[in-house]
Amino acid sequence: MDSIVNIKNLSFKYDKIDILKRITLEVVTGNFISILGPNGSGKTTLLKNISSTLKPNNGSILIEMQDIRKIKHKELAKKLAVVHQSTEVHFDFSVYNVVMMGRFPYLKRFQSESKKDEEIVKEAMLNTSTWHLKDKSINEISGGEKQRVVIARALTQQPKVLLLDEPISHLDIKYQIEILDLCKRLNKEQNITVITTLHDINMASRYSDYIVLLKEGNIKEVDVPHKTLTEENIEEVYGIKVELINRNNDKRPIILPRSV
């Protein structure tokens, strides 16, 4: 199987403080990967290194076997799209225009959007059930709708890898399921590799092919859900005791925290 993201010996410091410590991780094309870990363990920092927003102090990251430092801005945006944790938008853009921005890497400076770009935008918006919002202002839609709009924009980049940072943390249970179902569907139907950070261990267990467990900038474990999410691992990383429930042997344990 082809590996699409290859992280080798990655170290990253914020002002001389080690945040990521010699991380090595190989992600295979078409996988759904969740990154779990307590607050401050370095999940966001890892994603930002992969998206080239932060530059590693040591080690390297390859996308399709190419070092990201050598990939031009627009080329990288065609391979990799990022969905940031929901952010405030203070500027008045229509939802349609926000989604169209995803076509940026494909457009030359003086080129205007073609029929094809419009079709790609429409398809992405239909896919994320946001088409009916197209004429609204981005400021006038709900948090869950905004999240879907941002995912729609990421899809118009036609990426091979979709990076998401806590995509469901502000959403109610219905939208949480909706967003993760959407990611899973894109993952299955379009073979987009998904790498997402999550706080909800049960959601990670349910949706991921592999789970990366981060502790203080180190990878504690990378494996399929039932092998990563053991009582010992969870206690070591989060410092809490849990009970695991294995329903009909699907190898996706449900985690019940015990009271302290």
Partner: protein, 347 residues
């Protein structure tokens, strides 16, 4: 479907602009009929080779129109256009609603240069440009470069440090100007009147010199509309969309500063235009730079043209500094819009 909408709006604004120009020409101590001004101008341009009879129009009217009012009106429009397109660009790359064309110290730099020029009192110049203008331009550019380098951290531009460095450098230069004024009492009046900004004495040469850079600069800034759209949504997001953020910011900063310096060198310091016109049009048209930049250009031209027309016509025989008009009339109007449109505000 969006392009069409844009086009109609821009055409409407252009028509308003043309009408304002023609109407403004008729106004002044000498009233010249609207149709006559239209005839004179069409005759003057004459690209269509119309046969237009202007024999019945007084020679003095023709002179006033072509040599006094038209250059003044066009220069005011040009400066208005530049100030507002620069203001729009600065507000976007700094993501700061308080940014105006003078944030990087262009105004105090220009004033400092102009003050030296006035004190030296050399009336010679290059290309029909007075020494004062040239000194103002140089002062503006040098100050911008200084502020930029003071605020630069490595290769990155931090908004806060630019704004702070701009304020501090400006105060130092202002102190310098005050000092020079104390020691050169005779030039006080000229220095003060330069600082307040005026289009009195506008000439075709000035227009010729700044028109081409203004046109190229504006088109260049407009060509970065998509990058600007992405950047105002957040620099990280923009980078993830494939925008080379630092490069874009730098190139826009350089272009805009150059434009601001050239505007200030021919007009003196005219406040408010570059601050409120961008906001005004953002409230009306939204944040998309593909429409925002062109409408700022035309809107800024119309706004300053109207203000300058008021400046030279409200009081008979006396000119009010145009900067006073821009604040007195623009301010309340802007506050009204701000109140009415709070939800769509920049910040």
């Amino acid at each position: 479907m969006f392009k069409k909408l844009y086009k109609t709006k821009i055409i409407i604004l252009l028509l308003i602009f043309i009408f304002s120009v023609l109407f403004s020409i008729t106004l002044g101590d000498v009233r010249i009929p609207f149709l006559d001004t239209a005839r004179i101008i069409i005759n003057e341009i004459n690209i269509f080779n119309f046969e237009i009879n202007i024999d019945h129009i007084k020679k003095s009217h023709i002179f006033i129109v072509t040599n006094i009012r038209l250059p003044r009106i066009l220069l005011a429009s040009l400066v208005g256009a530049i100030l507002s397109v620069v203001g729009t660009s600065y507000q976007s790359i700094f993501k700061n609603p308080m940014a105006d064309p003078y944030v990087m110290g262009v105004s105090s730099g220009a004033a400092f240069g102009a003050t030296i020029g006035i004190i030296l009192g050399i009336s010679k110049g290059i290309l029909g440009f007075g020494l004062t203008s040239i000194m103002a331009f140089a002062g503006a550019l040098l100050t911008t470069i200084l502020v930029y380098n003071l605020a630069r951290i490595g290769n990155k531009i931090s908004t806060t440090s630019i704004l702070l460095a701009g304020i501090v450098v400006s105060s130092i230069l202002s102190a310098g100007i005050s000092l020079m004024m104390i020691f050169n009492h005779d030039d006080l009046a000229s220095i003060v009147s330069w600082t307040m900004g005026s289009f009195n004495g506008a000439s075709w040469t000035q227009i010729a010199v700044i028109f081409i850079p203004a046109l190229i600069g504006t088109l260049f800034l407009s060509s970065f509309s998509r990058e600007l759209n992405a950047i105002v949504l957040g620099e990280e997001q923009a980078q993830n969309l494939g925008v080379n953020v630092e490069f874009t910011k730098k190139i826009i900063l350089i272009t805009a500063s150059f434009l601001a310096a050239s505007a200030v060198s021919v007009s003196g310091i005219i406040g408010f235009v570059g601050l409120i016109v961008p906001h005004l049009f953002r409230l009306i048209f939204g944040a998309d730079h593909r429409i925002l930049l062109p409408v700022s250009v035309i809107g800024g031209a119309v706004f300053l043209l109207i203000c300058d027309t008021l400046a030279r016509t409200v009081l008979q025989g006396i000119e009010i500094p145009v900067g006073i008009i821009t604040s007195v009339f623009g301010g309340p109007f802007f506050l009204y819009l701000l109140k009415r449109n709070k939800s769509k505000r920049l910040v």
